[in-house]
Symmetry: D3
Subunit: 131 residues, 6 copies
């Protein structure tokens, strides 16, 4: 169990149900995952977070699959198991293959390696990169 109880649909106040309904409609699913059920304990956080996710993950200059892969990259870097699992599932639904996942994480691995090298040697940023 999380540090707050899960708010199930049947027990949820109307403002929570409205968000749950929108999540299911936008994602074309018929269930709500635990993340939302936990933050639903604080309806303003539920609504704000969902509205933000919906806006940020919508197609724009970047397509939804690229956005899901960026989500995985951050989550793998932070080691957030819940987010890795949920966004890997979401990216697969958007068409991510096993090979794409492997290449994505290979880049994530290299980036984490070279981040620590650049920081560890305290490399000065080349002027050309700042212009």
């Amino acid at each position: 169990m999380a540090t707050l109880n899960l708010v199930e649909y049947d027990d949820a106040p109307d403002e929570v149900r409205a968000v749950y309904d929108d999540i299911m409609a936008v994602r074309e699913v018929d269930w709500i995952n635990n993340f939302w059920k936990v933050i639903a304990n604080h309806p303003p956080t539920l609504k704000r977070t969902w509205d933000s996710i919906k806006q940020v993950m919508a197609p724009g200059a970047l397509d939804p699959l690229t956005k899901e892969m960026i989500y995985i990259a951050v989550s793998a870097t932070n080691g957030c198991e819940y987010c890795i699992r949920s966004h890997t599932a979401a990216a697969r639904k958007q068409g991510m293959t096993d090979e794409m996942l492997a290449e994505l994480l290979a880049v994530v691995g290299m980036a984490n390696e070279t981040n620590s090298l650049a920081d560890g040697f305290d490399v000065e940023t080349d002027e050309i990169f700042k212009s």
Copy 2:
């Protein structure tokens, strides 16, 4: 100055020059950025890191621009200024617009937010995400 001196091309041993030449050829530039000049103090690290970067960032199941954006996502999450600057420059060269950068970082921001929420409430991973 970094915590090791910069190894300039003219002062570099042959094994380092060979890597520098390859970096400039593959990237179609005529200069070497500080990151490589610092790790060139240890030629095996220079060669291994470059060979890895070259393999990982090559076109594959993911295109080079997507890979550069993933690099930025990780670097922004870690707060590595050098890597943010160098890979933002690289991504722009690959065609990333200001709007794409803005959307990319909006996703990075949301991912960092929800990572800390999922971890902070210790949300249990839904069984469906593990199958």
Copy 3:
């Protein structure tokens, strides 16, 4: 099991028991949690860590509940499950309600989001903030 065995009270040397006794007295509990039982394998670390925690978490310019919430904020950011769970329990004992926890983590989430935005865009610190 942790990577070192748990040192139980009955098997502990005197210097460890003395710390265990002080932990139970200060916290008004009759048991020792696993964190202390693990670091008790190295008595100087046990004693130093407990003495530090006792000093740092005591009432001062900040009250103990605020301090426990700060502890949760750091632990959620680092994704340390053990510390999230133990300090959420401790904060509740000090009076933290579900609503306070939800607001606390909402702030933690926003801070992690804007940290990655400020770093990702490499925003220059306003002069006024440095004075």
Copy 4:
């Protein structure tokens, strides 16, 4: 300079000016800090981020000063200089003294220390903390 240009008030489109006006009104200041000027390149991110910050940082179950201190705790853990500076300034405006800042960071330091100890020894969470 950041990786995107600063959007100054005089050059800003109406939707950006509206947010800038609201920021200045809510915070009772007559200037806009660089963070907002950078993300203003992407007006939906500017508006969404400000609306979220305004909601999250408003007085509620936690007072604004406590919220600012939690922001500092996260920013210090992530090493985000911009956020450390801007939220330290904001917290001082809310009444944080030097002594409160020192105690706050003492807790942040201890939390980061014990987070790595709990993770490093892979301490199992006590059952009592999960109930």
Copy 5:
């Protein structure tokens, strides 16, 4: 189960088996741990990562035990359970005692504490440290 299936030796293509054989030969073990079985889904990542690890962890200016302890230090800081467990096992095989592990993590803890203090107060680097 990981987010990709485990590639078992008997089902592995030749290029994967060749790496597995080398891992077992170099480490003098007769089994392959899950990390390699997962990344084996992408043979170039398997080969590159193993070649890198083999080079980096070989005796050099630093001995293998020191290198394993540095691996633990990073893994504890990142909270990566898999890496903490596997490299603690590896370090013990190289001769790390319980006391050495305790001292190692005591240093890791202090470093994480003072990192957040130095960042949190935004301490300016002394000129003497930059020369």
Copy 6:
């Protein structure tokens, strides 16, 4: 300037001077670096942190040079410039050569890479590593 003023020796109260004297004596230097001058604003933090550092970094099951290198490993992973610089200087004083530094950071880089791979694929810990 840091977010608190530097406490110079000549202006320091006796309890701060006593710690400064001990730092200079133990380290055999005739100056105090900025880290201590900042946390000296809060004498109990100064004293506690110095006492802890002195205990943790003293020769024991691990020698002081190994401890300094572990400190660098953590600081590079966290990207703490101040700590990277100060502990690189300290490690050099203990005998760390450029080659040792390069090998150390090569390990740090690999560890950060494989940490994100193990987390990103959510690799299950082998039973043998838990025994």
